[in-house]
Amino acid sequence: MEVPIETLIIDQELIKELQCGICLQLLNTPRQCQNGHLFDLSCITTSLKKNKQCPICRCSLSSKELSRSLFVEKHIRNLKVYCKYHYKKGEPLVMVPTTEKSISSSSSSSLGSFHDDENWIIDDGGCDHISTFENLETHQNSCEFGFDQCKYSSNNSSSNNKNNNNNNNNNSNSINDNGNANANANGNSSGSNSGIINNNNNNENEKENDECGMIRKKDLENHYVNCPFRPTLCKYCEKQFCFKLIDDHIENCDMKPQTCDLCLVSIIKKDMESHLSDSCPSKLIDCPYSHFGCSSKFTRDNLNNHLENQTAMSQHLKFLLLQQTKKEEDFVKELEEKEDKIRRLEEALLASNGHRIEWKIKNVSKQRSDKYTQSESFIINGFTFFLALFWDGDTSESTGFVSTYLFLETSKAPKGKALFLHYFIEFQNQRDRNQSIQKEFDVLFPIKGGQGWGDRKAIKYTSLEKDGFIKDDTLIIRSDILVKKNLWSIDVAPQR
């Protein structure tokens, strides 16, 4: 809201001569009738459409007969006025009519009141410059009592702020003046007997601290020095904060030095935690060997003393040894459990997918004289196999050894099929099972360029005889055969 032009005029009496007879405002484009009655052009034009008379003297009048008055125009241009920064918005006035006591005393309760929102009062800290009406705008544009937004406070100022800006300023002392003082200052009620009641809307101070509001241009420089929102560096972290928040920030600044309660050394706040956990010499700590059983506690600076202490050192070694022994025992136990588990898994695998062949060779002494003994054949996945022994080796190189083989009957082998076998051949020790000899193989049958696969030097015949493998002239050979893979090589189907 702008201060009305009429309010700016110093000699209020002059307004009565220079106002439009219709709208009662200061003449903007003055026009007069032949008798000199003045109206604003727009008002008299409207009036003449209804009635071709001067509204004041009722002389006959038409638009063509209206005339300018150079004197009045000049008079208005030269009116002495204050600028708008001479005034500020006062509290809204509530006007109650008062007239002869006979009416007011007995009937005031039934009378209404008029709520005047546009109450402009003189701003004690405002501009006192007087200019002519003609030069008013030029002056106002450069008036150093004009207002600017403080560059440090928030930009999204609410619309209310512009009207309240004087309240935020330090010269708001007239806010709490009584109504009469306001009215006199305004010059509205001079010499009248109207009662003016100050409307107490105490809404100032509510939006305090959000922003500086509008500051007079002439006060800006000074304001920026003391502005609660001026940027201020934290002396510890060197980051920028607004002045009113700097104390709160410093209180919590990570870079602020603090005294360690224990060692009394000054430490930056953010490093305090690691100082206590890693380096404070006065911090009570556990012995590094506490995991191994040492229950000593001492301040950190005594750590070396403790570690170098002979008694403590031998104690630590004892703890380490105990720990180590226990670990080993646990490890062995775990290993045994694992082996056991592997064995069980192997057996389970064999049971589902394997074949166990047990070959009892009776009359070993008689068989041996034949040099070669062959088992009955058995069939695995369509392939016919048999086991065989060469009692005195199968070549000159293996003389004295028993050679053992798993043979495939190649003539009966199905075409286009192959078997990948994992198998072992065991000479069972009948005196002590744990001494049995086991030979292990992974072989793809049929074998390229051969019939069987085994060990040419499986066991010395002498060992077989004297180490308890033969009992009652009987040798027991066991073979576990596991089919690891069935391989199929297939052709195009024959055409019909």
Binding site: V96, S102, S110
Partner: protein
């Protein structure tokens, strides 16, 4: 209420701060174009010591059209009928936008001092006034005591 012309605000301010003698006009709080008016009966008239209540309404055309004014208090007057309607030229064809609420109310106050039975609105009252002015004035005084004694 925001669209209230400055002229009406200015007139209201002046009515409140510099009331005309014997006239009180106050806008209604909910409608600033509607005024409650009290006119004190002029001295040496049959309406002396009476408080006459009126209502005054400013139409949207105001000030290019006259305000609408009506007596609320019963009054025995040749230019005011029993509904309170007033026969006054400036409220009709003689209206001028240079006139104001204040001048209208002063004219009504003057009409109380100087009844004009030759331009009647209430024919029977006007007849009474012309045939026996003394008796008519007596009746007007009785009505004033009867209906306009209280300022409420």
């Amino acid at each position: 209420m925001n669209s209230l012309p400055k002229r009406i605000i200015k007139e209201t301010q002046r009515l409140m701060s510099e009331p005309a003698p014997g006239i009180v006009a106050t806008p209604a709080t909910d409608n600033l174009r509607y005024f409650k008016v009290t006119i004190t009966g002029p001295a040496e008239s049959p309406f002396e010591k009476g408080f006459f209540h009126l209502e005054l309404f400013l139409t949207d055309e105001y000030p290019m059209s006259p305000p609408k004014v009506r007596f609320l208090t019963k009054i025995y007057h040749p230019n005011i009928d029993k509904l309170g309607r007033i026969c006054l030229d400036i409220l009709k064809d003689k209206w001028s936008p240079a006139l104001q609420i204040r001048t209208v109310l002063l004219s009504i106050q003057a009409l109380l001092s100087a009844p004009n039975p030759d331009d009647p609105l209430a024919n029977d009252v006007a007849e009474h006034w012309k045939s026996n002015e003394k008796d008519a004035i007596k009746k007007a005084r009785e009505w004033t005591e009867l209906y306009a004694a209280s300022s409420e």
